[in-house]
């Protein structure tokens, strides 16, 4: 059953040093406010999981929260590199991070397997690429009916899943719409799911394209208006495209990055 908590209380309750945490969002509804709270609370040695580590994970990596990254595409979408990610991989700064690298198709199927309580998923993928040479969580599997050889990837079951949604009702049911990405899969694959929302409303009005996740599978709901900025929340605010470009400059140098984080994240008040 859902607990309604402040964002800081929800993070404090469910996140621990060393945990595997997936803060998901496929460009849309990226849970920045929650990620910033994780940074502020100073967690270390996290295994971060995400298909598209973007600015938020760049920040978490640069702030030294991350021991390991499970991912499929680490770029600043439409802009270029993630400089803090690169600095960590190329120069071990601020610390070495271990990589577990997949394709999008592999990652999404791993979440599907997790949500389905299966230990693995079957797919067509990775064949002929160098990924299996460096990623141990890719295996082959033979169809018991046709003998065809396919690819298996193990389920992802993050200890904590964190997503952002537009709305929750007072029973903790979650509603999101627009591009809904992998949010439902993550919410169902994680052992504990925290959802930040733009607002809590008395009743969820049915909307075209909306996905509702029943509250009884959500551990905690925290109101965090604007919690997806600088990404966007369909129907609430637009993506701050300028900031994505600006981040390229902010994040290039360690000192400027540190100052920016100090001023904009560490000393910012929490949303909840």
């Amino acid at each position: 059953m859902t607990a309604f908590l402040t964002l800081s209380a929800a993070i404090a309750e469910y996140v621990h040093d060393g945990d595997s945490v997936a803060l998901e969002g496929f460009t849309h509804l990226i849970p920045f406010a929650a990620g910033h709270e994780v940074i502020r609370q100073g967690y270390r040695d996290l295994e971060l999981i995400r298909m598209t580590p973007d600015l938020l994970y760049d920040q978490m990596i640069g702030m030294g929260c991350v021991r390991r990254l499970v991912f499929s595409y680490a770029g600043n979408p439409g802009v270029g590199s993630l400089h803090r990610f690169r600095d960590a991989v190329e120069h071990d700064w601020p610390n070495r991070i271990e990589l577990e690298e997949h394709s999008h198709a592999g990652m999404v199927n791993r979440y599907v397997a997790g949500a389905s309580n299966l230990p693995f998923a079957v797919m067509r993928g990775y064949t002929g690429t160098d990924l299996p040479k460096h990623t141990s969580t890719i295996a082959s599997i033979t169809c018991p009916f046709t003998g065809e050889v396919l690819t298996a990837v193990p389920a992802l079951r993050p200890q904590v899943g964190i997503i952002h949604a537009q709305r929750a009702d007072q029973a903790g049911n979650i509603q999101l719409w627009g591009i809904t990405g992998v949010q439902k899969e993550v919410a169902l694959a994680a052992h504990h799911t925290i959802v930040t929302v733009e607002e809590i409303v008395p009743r969820l009005e049915p909307l075209p394209g909306a996905v509702v996740i029943p509250g009884w599978v959500i551990a905690a709901v925290a109101e965090a208006p604007g919690g997806a900025r600088p990404s966007y929340a369909h129907g609430y605010y637009d993506r701050d495209n300028g900031f994505y470009r600006e981040w390229d400059l902010i994040s290039r140098e360690r000192a400027r990055f540190a100052t920016w984080m100090e001023e904009n994240v560490l000393h910012a008040s929490t949303a909840g």
Partner: protein, 262 residues
């Protein structure tokens, strides 16, 4: 690499590359597009000769009709204008994997003579000189779309004899590689650069230069290629961009710039 200066021409090499890519698309084709050059080319095609092209973004939008260029594959307008919005799981499993999608666009940090692509690392995997973003949707796009269009600027740094990492398979080690790997799609049928167009030889699957953009020489193309480039004996020259193509392309790019300013 061709200079991106316009010089005596009224268009850049980059514009020629995008226009050439757009021309490969026909109305009714279902195209899997990422951001950047592929999205620009696909939207240019949609705004000119291929109004009924079906734009598919891996974020889950099928049949998106954006009025301006999306800055990310998760742009809100893609969802609002799409025929259908599906989850990312469904996109990869029900749409891409079965080979329903006609054309996939890929870029490359490195490409080899068989159209194999690296977007993972320059240098060694464990100690890379440059860590690139990684695979994203590319390996399965390369495997499963009916054909792949590669858009990449041509230079000895990108057109390499040996990839540092195989992220996405083009024609493997040539010839029958794709069939042996069990792929149903045809793989890269065209590689469009700022200098010209390369296509796989029907027998060997090695990329051959089949077309040069206006005012580009074979020598320039050879110098920009890290292996002994095969030149097709029917080498043709690309039609320069039309006024309309250029006007639409520039309008699309301007709308992108405007949206960065909010």
């Amino acid at each position: 690499m061709a200079t991106d200066k316009i010089g005596e021409k009224n268009y850049t090499a980059g514009e020629m590359m995008t226009v050439a890519a757009a021309r490969e698309l026909r109305s009714g084709m279902a195209c899997f597009v990422g951001v950047g050059p592929p999205s620009l080319a696909a939207n240019l095609a949609r705004a000119t000769h291929a109004p009924d092209i079906i734009l598919i973004y891996e974020s889950g939008t099928i049949g998106a009709k954006p009025s301006r260029l999306p800055l990310s594959i998760g742009d809100g307008e893609l969802a609002e204008t799409a025929d259908a919005v599906v989850t990312v799981a469904e996109m990869f499993n029900y749409w891409l994997q079965p080979g329903r999608i006609d054309v996939g666009f890929l870029g490359a940090a490195q490409i080899d003579r068989f159209g194999n692509i690296n977007t993972t690392v320059i240098g060694s995997y464990d100690h890379p000189k440059v860590r690139l973003p990684g695979a994203g949707g590319a390996p399965e796009i390369a495997a499963s779309t009916k054909e792949v269009i590669v858009i990449v600027t041509q230079s000895p740094r990108t057109f390499v004899p040996q990839l540092d990492f195989v992220t996405s398979v083009g024609h493997g080690s040539g010839d029958l590689s794709r069939r042996q790997l069990g792929f149903t799609g045809a793989g890269p049928t065209i590689v469009i650069t700022d200098l010209g167009i390369l296509r796989p030889d029907p027998a060997s699957a090695e990329l051959a230069l089949t077309q040069l953009h206006p005012d580009v020489s074979v020598e320039q193309a050879r110098a920009a290629t890290g292996w002994a480039l095969v030149v097709d004996h029917n080498l043709t020259t690309t039609e320069p961009p039309t006024e309309r193509e250029l006007a639409v392309l520039r309008r699309l790019k301007a709308s992108t710039e405007a949206s960065y300013d909010g």
